[in-house]
Symmetry: D3
Subunit: 183 residues, 6 copies
Amino acid sequence: FVNGKFCKDPKLAKAEDFYLSGLNIPGNTSNQVGSMVTQANVQQIPGLNTLGISLVRIDYAPYGGLNPPHTHPRATEILVVVEGTLYVGFVTSNMDNRLFTKVLHPGDVFVFPEGLIHFQFNIGHTNAVAFAALSSQNPGVITIANAVFGSDPAINPDVLAKAFQLDKNIVNQLQSRFWWDNN
Amino acid sequence: FVNGKFCKDPKLAKAEDFYLSGLNIPGNTSNQVGSMVTQANVQQIPGLNTLGISLVRIDYAPYGGLNPPHTHPRATEILVVVEGTLYVGFVTSNMDNRLFTKVLHPGDVFVFPEGLIHFQFNIGHTNAVAFAALSSQNPGVITIANAVFGSDPAINPDVLAKAFQLDKNIVNQLQSRFWWDNN
Amino acid sequence: FVNGKFCKDPKLAKAEDFYLSGLNIPGNTSNQVGSMVTQANVQQIPGLNTLGISLVRIDYAPYGGLNPPHTHPRATEILVVVEGTLYVGFVTSNMDNRLFTKVLHPGDVFVFPEGLIHFQFNIGHTNAVAFAALSSQNPGVITIANAVFGSDPAINPDVLAKAFQLDKNIVNQLQSRFWWDNN
Amino acid sequence: FVNGKFCKDPKLAKAEDFYLSGLNIPGNTSNQVGSMVTQANVQQIPGLNTLGISLVRIDYAPYGGLNPPHTHPRATEILVVVEGTLYVGFVTSNMDNRLFTKVLHPGDVFVFPEGLIHFQFNIGHTNAVAFAALSSQNPGVITIANAVFGSDPAINPDVLAKAFQLDKNIVNQLQSRFWWDNN
Amino acid sequence: FVNGKFCKDPKLAKAEDFYLSGLNIPGNTSNQVGSMVTQANVQQIPGLNTLGISLVRIDYAPYGGLNPPHTHPRATEILVVVEGTLYVGFVTSNMDNRLFTKVLHPGDVFVFPEGLIHFQFNIGHTNAVAFAALSSQNPGVITIANAVFGSDPAINPDVLAKAFQLDKNIVNQLQSRFWWDNN
Amino acid sequence: FVNGKFCKDPKLAKAEDFYLSGLNIPGNTSNQVGSMVTQANVQQIPGLNTLGISLVRIDYAPYGGLNPPHTHPRATEILVVVEGTLYVGFVTSNMDNRLFTKVLHPGDVFVFPEGLIHFQFNIGHTNAVAFAALSSQNPGVITIANAVFGSDPAINPDVLAKAFQLDKNIVNQLQSRFWWDNN
């Protein structure tokens, strides 16, 4: 066991430990945010353990499919668009909180540096598809809205009302909603 | 120059390069969130470059001074309370988004793992003061609400309305507000 | 400058530093080995510097397009097939030198661990296309045959005759050939 | 188990794993060197494992309480004085062995780079207190005099007599003494 | 267990865990390549685990003893000649594949950077002996010819014929040979 | 420049950047401690920069040549004896400060873990010679006695008298001595 994952005796490893199928199958985007992330990390491919890389396929519904603002606490991401048109961006750290954005078409590549809040938004009339690689075999994902308003148990609403400059009523409403997790 | 910082010829380094004064002076908490972070990282102490650690002092106003939900993209934090009573917490990654909280008193220590969203909230009747160490000489800070609703330029409001399940009107209002940055 | 690359003042960075277009364009596979690798690393995307990841698109001609046995001295590779049928494999270190292979179809993912000799071979009747991510912004490539028989200047042929159990005549012939580099 | 410490299934972790109390309690400085170090590392806080940081509180008796010359084999240290007046210093590597010193007052911060010999000495008339953070969850401490003259078993006295330019009699005396360990 | 190796409770460790004897004994060079590598890594010295270094002794037969072209997937090598005359070299990555060589005499030191193909060849009339250190406790070795032509099972000969510009007959002959492994 | 060293454009690098001669020449051991360390690190071999390894030759005079107690702040050491008989040892961290020792003969290997105090002592009637590798291109050396009693300027003698349980007179004498540095 290393990093909580089983490490095979190299003599017992086999090709299947380094293999995964299914990234040709579109993810189901019929959900709140209109997107779905299909993972290929150490959970699915045990041979990735300690190797520092993983992959995802992301599907976006037409007219607004959104991979909502999120961070990867342990990874940089590099994304290539295979199909569709995506408006993508990331926000830099304090004090500036500068937004860097691009509209991406098939074959375009964009980088989201480690730990920064980023998103992709399908602004086209068709499905969009991208592959993205992450610089960790276990990168983690924190969907910002879900972690803030959908945590279990709920964060003290006074904290969120003050931090987000929202009425406590609105915070309470948000905290009672269902927060769908696309990955 | 290493990491964008000047690296002195070791023969020219002097004690002042490893020194900073002023962490005894309370930060001014008369602001939107009622807190202030005073930094002691590689910006203030050039000798920290490449050494992988830094320090902050955090002051919290009585009755609700808040260090609002934020992440450090490149650091774990360990905090010790010197004065006052703090309700602190962090939220784990997807899918669970579990909230871990504690009420801390002087001498209590709490750890906020790398990249996770966390906060401290003064629930006492007096000022609160803490020291916190970070596992990077340049840890970075992303105040979640500021980065999301106060970025420059603003994120497309359709993205935020969908991600945060908020009326676009409210998103527009939030984006027009002033987002004070406590560090 | 970090790692021999220019590091911009973060205040001067812009979205273009994190962007590249053109990975939708098939590489020209009319060459000796019938394959072409199109790179998206720190050479093309300056914003990748220090971030530990990069991407390539690989095109393979039908009926035998080959990405010949090679290593990445500083990276693990994870590959996803977009089109076509590939026979892929890697060989483990001494003493065993075990060969791990798979036939991959669209949507199949395979991992080539850091530093091991690996290859992909188009065994289908159509073009094949794959994207592969590498766990370094500057992974390097060593095409084995080219480095061994096509180095500049040539390796002493006695070394190669003994190591590869080949007639010195054959070594001399090989060393006088042109070794086309697909990346 | 990672690094010899138990790694919990994240689903079983709880807030207590990231928490420690008691750093408000002064350490007992009634000892040979007049100082005491209270630890907050992975031994006391299991949630710190793999996170690369830890904390200590250091108490110094008035008129000469000493945290004697020592090294941390795996960590840089950053210290902030909370109370009292400390003369602190570190010595650089060969050939120069330059001594860098400062007199610190409350709120002053000083950095001791990884692996270098350093000390703190209370030159005031009152107790002194400092917090120090270390860039490892398990930094280790080597008190120089204790490791050299108080090892178990003793180092061959000829080695120490020659290295420290001391009479063998004095070495023998030193090796028969009790070496109190303040941490 | 860390990295697949047993990690002792430090209280149970003893001097023998950090010790190995026998590097004064010449390796038997009566073999196909006329060389032998004697290892001192974590397999032989359990105390090396996690410490990032190891050692080898290499013996070369007179008149052509060869440590054939190989890579270390996880280590840089630094070699010092103790006896004899060696022609040594390494080849840089694509595109250039530059060969760097030197003739080394006793007391000469040469560096083989991580992951690059390198070799040593005894061009003298006497035995040659070298010590080499590697920047990993478990550096791994890939003897190029053995991994390419002697893998188990064999690589598809069409792959090797195309990659190495060799007749398929010759590839088949090579694949049926015995490939002796000198380490 | 990386790590304060010039990094050549790889196209301008040449074999000499990876080469050093002279480790066959015995170091002059006619000095206070009867030993001499000859270095082969990034200062002498510019091509070692960023590669994480270096080498030394150590010569010891007969009847008591001593490489006195020292630490490497950034490296583990692995040593092989080429000639003579050495009594070697290292001391573990607090609280135990256990001494691990061995008597080494030609061909014996011993490991000194990162940051720990260690020494080698020639207990034979002949010269002794060893090669040692270090897990850093710039490992640093801190000779304990020299750094403690021979620093420039001197450490406050009250600190050393208390830490080492020595008369202040003796401390003053020691501080006025010449401390010869064998590397």
